[in-house]
């Protein structure tokens, strides 16, 4: 399954090559033009195959980011332990004891932690800080790593993609690393298999997790009339004591963004998404506002502005190793975005 391959591929922000190569092969026969820009975005353009009723076809950009959060080696101590820092936003508590792969050689390692036997009585509650952690690749000394690991090498979580629930009428939950946003990338590949009445610019972006950087330059070059971003999003739906927001819930279908910290979704596009969902009988939810950020934050502000919207598959445990999402939600997200794109026309951008 492409989603599984993408999940297991190594692609921390700034080093997305392995993911890009996988995606290049997946889309090269689906696109009329394919290119990689200076920062590393993969841009696949599928021209309009249905005739546009009025004038020039719209330029529609749909983006999903290839990069995952991870770590970077900042130092190698004499004992061969690797000091490291996060790349993208990661809570230090979720990294303890996780298996990782390091650098070019994909060396396996583990992020060590102090066994409970050795902790002081009040240590278990103490805050975890990256500067106190180290990656153990089993080296005897710094010399063992000469030429194999360097400062600046990137490190990714290591995890096999797995299907948790095969019951066809259930959640069909899957678990893997980097579903944020390899799930979006897999959906974008699917979208390239349909004919539209507009020119589709499918952009697999780089460096979203460190500042929406790839999306910004790709959007500037493409100058789209409208943009959609496919993401996975925060899901805080496990039982809790206080009656506050879950942001989104697994099993409630694709999440439509109203606004997050980086963008106010264009209201015309939100209305189009909602109308499409209702007419196609697709269950959907709204993502609770003012949380998180996506490539749309950068895209909507390029040039003289791009109306933009975000559609996401809810995903538990984002920015940690084992992301969990429902393939039922994922399939409905695809159904929603595809149906919306098939309805999209210039009249939807009128005020």
């Amino acid at each position: 399954m492409l989603l599984g391959e993408l999940s297991e591929a190594f692609g921390v922000s700034g080093q997305e090559q392995e993911v890009r190569d996988l995606l290049y092969h997946a889309v090269k026969d689906l696109a009329d033009e394919i290119s990689v820009d200076t920062i590393g975005n993969l841009i696949a353009c599928r021209k309009a195959r249905q005739s546009a009723p009025h004038g020039e076809p719209l330029r529609v950009m749909v983006a999903a980011h290839m990069d995952e959060v991870g770590f970077m080696v900042t130092g190698i101590d004499n004992g061969g332990m690797l000091r490291f820092a996060p790349v993208g936003g990661i809570d230090a508590r979720v990294v303890l004891d996780k298996q990782v792969v390091v650098g070019r050689e994909r060396m396996p390692g583990v992020i060590g932690s102090k066994p409970i036997h050795l902790q002081d009585r009040d240590e278990p509650g103490a805050p975890v800080k990256f500067e106190n952690l180290a990656i153990d690749v089993g080296a005897g000394s710094k010399d063992d790593l000469e030429g194999r690991v360097s400062v600046g090498d990137v490190v990714a979580f290591k995890m096999r993609f797995c299907v948790l629930d095969t019951n066809p009428s259930g959640l069909r939950a899957v678990m893997g690393k980097a579903l944020d946003d390899r799930a979006g990338c897999a959906l974008l590949v699917e979208l390239l298999k349909t004919d539209y009445a507009f020119d589709l610019y499918a952009v697999f972006t780089v460096q979203e997790e460190v500042g929406l950087r790839g999306a910004r330059v790709a959007a500037f070059a493409i100058k789209p009339d409208v943009a959609f971003v496919l993401e996975t999003t925060i899901c805080d739906d496990l039982p809790k004591k206080v009656d506050t927001t879950n942001v989104t819930r697994v099993g409630d279908g694709p999440a439509i963004t109203i606004r997050d910290r980086t963008v106010v979704a264009d209201q015309r596009l939100v209305r189009l998404l909602v109308d499409t969902a209702e007419q196609e009988g697709i269950a959907y939810q709204f993502k609770s506002p003012e949380t998180g950020g996506t490539d749309a934050g950068a895209i909507h502000l390029v040039q003289d502005g791009v109306p933009s919207a975000v559609v996401s598959t809810p995903c538990r445990n984002l920015h940690s190793m084992a992301n969990l999402m429902s393939l039922a939600d994922y399939d409905e997200t695809l159904r929603l975005i595809r149906a919306t794109l098939l309805r999209l026309g210039p009249e939807d951008l009128r005020r």
């Binding site: 009656d243 506050t244 927001t245 106010v264 709204f286």
Partner: protein, 330 residues
């Protein structure tokens, strides 16, 4: 002018949902300008052609106001919310808000364990009179703004959203009074200033002006135990030197000062420690735009009772009309 200010300040228009205020301002533009349009983000761009011998000038005043956005409807129909724009939680206590359709809400707060610390935003909730999630007329994502009618005390005007409906009124009055200007003037009523100067960024890119001027409120230093600031109510519009986001273009600043002195318009010089305006975004658009700001002194900014002095607003209009009335050399 008071009635225009009343109409604008009492209209609903939080950042990202400016449709209503845009409609009200559009209605005021008929007869004042050659054309107007709405761009991709919702900025209202009004164009008044000049006689042709001048520059392409952009004026910016933001239409959006601060507010709150509903993040959760709880089982009993109470709402949790987050701010839209910069809101000090202290200003929420006992507040009243209104949604786009006019529905009112009252801001409540959880019991406070300690009265020494200001409660965080997560301790507040909104009460719209619902009794359950099912009968609550408000949904996640709905936005609301403070509600207060405009009040007049002598020559002082008090309202919510003086920031920056006062600036919008200045732009409208400038358009009304400007005749035979050499310059092509783009008066932009921007969106989403309070959440990141977003409308100004994209509209400035689209217009690509040769000179940009923002018109926004600024704080004053003339209230008890205020932060040190040389701006006071009633001493004239403030010509911005610096704020936390930009240093005014020296040529533009000097042009404003020269013009004020020549015309006998009272003015002040402004250095603002915390806060910025659309000018910050306009200044660094494309390859850069000479940018300045004419500020309207305002007490209690980002509360529901912002106070301006009528003469400061009128003198801001006079200053801009005088600057745009003749040739500009920077």
């Amino acid at each position: 002018m008071k009635e225009l200010l009343r109409k604008l300040t009492e209209t609903y228009g939080p950042s990202g949902s400016e449709e209503q205020i845009r409609a009200v301002i559009s209605a005021e533009l008929d007869g004042l300008v050659d054309s107007y349009s709405v761009d991709a983000l919702g900025n209202l761009i009004a164009f008044k052609r000049g006689t042709g011998s001048g520059k392409k000038v952009m004026l910016a005043a933001h239409m959006d106001e601060i507010g709150i956005i509903v993040t959760h409807v709880d089982k009993k129909g109470f709402l949790r919310f987050l701010p839209v724009g910069g809101i000090d939680p202290l200003t929420l206590l006992g507040g009243r808000v209104a949604f786009a359709n006019g529905l009112s809400g009252v801001i409540g707060v959880e019991k406070l364990e300690s009265r020494k610390e200001a409660p965080g935003i997560d301790k507040f909730y909104l009460d719209v009179g619902a009794t359950s999630k099912e009968d609550c007329p408000v949904r996640v994502g709905d936005t609301a703004v403070f509600t207060r009618p405009l009040a007049e005390v002598g020559s002082r005007l008090i309202a919510k959203a003086m920031d920056d409906r006062a600036g919008c009124v200045v732009l409208l009055e400038v358009l009304r009074q400007l005749n035979d200007s050499p310059h092509d003037v783009y008066a932009v009523f921007t969106v989403q200033e309070e959440i990141g100067l977003r409308g100004a960024q994209t509209s400035a890119f689209g217009i690509a002006p040769e000179l940009a001027l923002a018109v926004d409120v600024t704080t004053t230093g003339d209230t008890p135990e205020a932060r040190v600031m040389a701006v006071s109510l009633g001493e004239g519009p403030a010509i911005k030197v610096k704020d936390s986001g930009m240093l005014a273009h020296a040529g533009v600043k000097d042009l404003l000062i020269r013009t004020a002195e020549r015309e006998g318009i009272p003015y002040q010089l402004e250095v603002l420690g915390g806060g910025t305006t659309d000018a910050m975004a306009m200044q660094v658009t494309r390859s850069g735009i000479p940018t300045g700001v004419v500020s309207i002194p305002c007490r209690y900014v980002h509360t529901n009772s912002e106070v301006v002095e009528r003469t400061d607003v009128e003198n801001a209009v006079r200053l801009l009309v005088a600057v745009l009335g003749g040739p500009i050399a920077l």
